[in-house]
């Protein structure tokens, strides 16, 4: 089993149009690095200087990771990660 990562429309240029891809890692940080080896440039659109980019929301099993441990949030096989663009001045 792997970790399913759902990709928003605006980032599907990095995944050949795929709505979801699979990756591995013990944390979100590792997961995004793993994804970047197959989808070059994707990590940079989500992560900036070791933090989540301001206008990107990431959800682990639908829970906002900013309320967990951010990019250091632990993940495991079978989890589902969703990347969504945040609205400017959103609720986060």
């Amino acid at each position: 089993m792997a970790i399913e990562v759902r990709i928003p429309t605006i980032l599907r240029t990095y995944t050949d149009g795929e709505k979801s891809v699979e990756g591995a890692g013990a944390t979100l940080d590792e997961l995004f690095s793993d994804l970047d080896t197959r989808h070059a440039g994707l990590r940079d659109r989500v992560v900036d200087g070791g933090e989540l980019r301001r206008f990107v929301n990431v959800y682990l099993n639908d829970e906002d990771v900013r309320f967990l441990d951010g990019i250091a949030t632990k993940v495991a096989d079978g989890d589902s990660v969703t990347i969504l663009p945040a609205v400017a001045g959103g609720m986060a």
Binding site: E63, D64, T82, V87, G90
Partner: protein
């Protein structure tokens, strides 16, 4: 229970355990049945409280016109109270809300002004603010910024829950005006240290018309992030799936936003179960399913069919 008038019968709703959806004896999920209010939704609480507060402040006097942006339930609650108290009411509502909501508002005597579907509730708020500027004599109670909205939940919903379930560990509700979460959240944080306050935010994804995520962000004036412990983003598919599970497994006939709250409630319940912790998770059943019957989601053969049936309708 006996009350001196229908308006006095707001609140004091049942709290029921869900034996089939609860993960175990140690981790229980409880539903607060707010559909048992006089007009059938949780909004009866803030609507009545906002009106009575405005009356007490002298803002609302006999013959006044009330104006409110609403996706339905608050308007229905306000319209019922307005009829009994003798006010005129004008509601601004997105055009893609269900036919039942329009019928109910009209039935209670409200006048409806439709706002464009694009932008969802945000656009309704903007249109209402423009109307308020054009009609300075109209009274906009403005549920998104009126402290009496969370005030109603601080004074009634929170104390009811804690009295019924002193061992509560998690409180889960939909994130709309944020009134329920802010009011119940503040009350429980004061009285039940360690309680988690969990928001279930509707995700307006590909399936739903709302361009809310593409529009400028709208943060209700009432929102205070420090009250929340965590936040779930729930897609239409999960909201519809949980709404159907609640009906099929527990016999509770609820609206779609309740499915979203249940999804988050089951999410925190599963985490507690995995961590070997006991939990009493309370979530809000905001309204019954009656107003969504015409979508066909309750009788569609599969969740996929039900989601397709909901396509284009604003559900939260």
């Amino acid at each position: 229970m006996r009350y001196d008038s229908p308006l006095a019968a707001v609140g004091n709703t049942p709290l029921v355990r869900l034996p089939r959806l609860s993960p175990s004896d140690a981790v229980s999920v409880w539903a607060k049945l707010e559909d048992r209010n006089p007009t059938g939704s949780v909004k009866d609480r803030p609507a009545l409280y906002m009106i009575e507060q405005a009356e007490a402040d002298g803002r609302l006097t006999p013959g006044c016109t009330i104006l409110e942006p609403t996706s339905g339930n608050t308007g229905i609650s306000l319209a019922m109270a307005a009829r009994l108290k003798g006010y005129r009411i004008v509601c601004v509502m997105p055009e893609n809300t269900s036919a039942e909501r329009r019928e109910l508002l009209t039935m209670w005597g409200a006048e409806i002004i439709s706002s464009p579907a694009a932008g969802g509730s945000n656009t309704a708020v903007r249109v209402a603010k423009e109307l308020a500027a054009e009609h300075p004599d109209w009274v906009m109670l403005y549920q998104y910024g009126n402290p009496a909205n969370p005030g109603a939940h601080y004074a009634t919903t929170g104390p009811e829950i804690l009295a019924d379930l002193p061992t509560i560990t998690h409180f889960v509700a939909g994130l709309g005006t944020t009134g329920t979460l802010m009011g119940v959240g503040r009350y429980l944080r004061e009285k039940a240290p360690g309680v988690a306050i969990v928001a279930a935010e509707p995700r307006y994804d590909d399936l739903v018309y709302g361009l809310r995520n593409l529009d400028e962000g709208f943060v209700p004036e009432l929102y205070d992030g420090s009250v929340l412990t965590t936040r779930f983003s729930v897609g239409s598919q999960d909201a519809v799936r949980r709404t159907r599970e609640l009906l099929q497994q527990e016999g509770i006939f609820a609206g779609v936003s309740t499915g979203a709250a249940l999804h988050a409630a089951l999410g925190v319940a599963a985490k507690a179960e995995r961590a070997g912790e006991r939990a009493d998770v309370v979530f809000i059943v905001a309204d019954g399913g009656w107003k969504y019957l015409s979508t066909g989601i309750y009788t569609a053969p599969t969740t996929e069919d039900a989601v397709a049936a909901l396509h284009g309708q604003l559900w939260a």
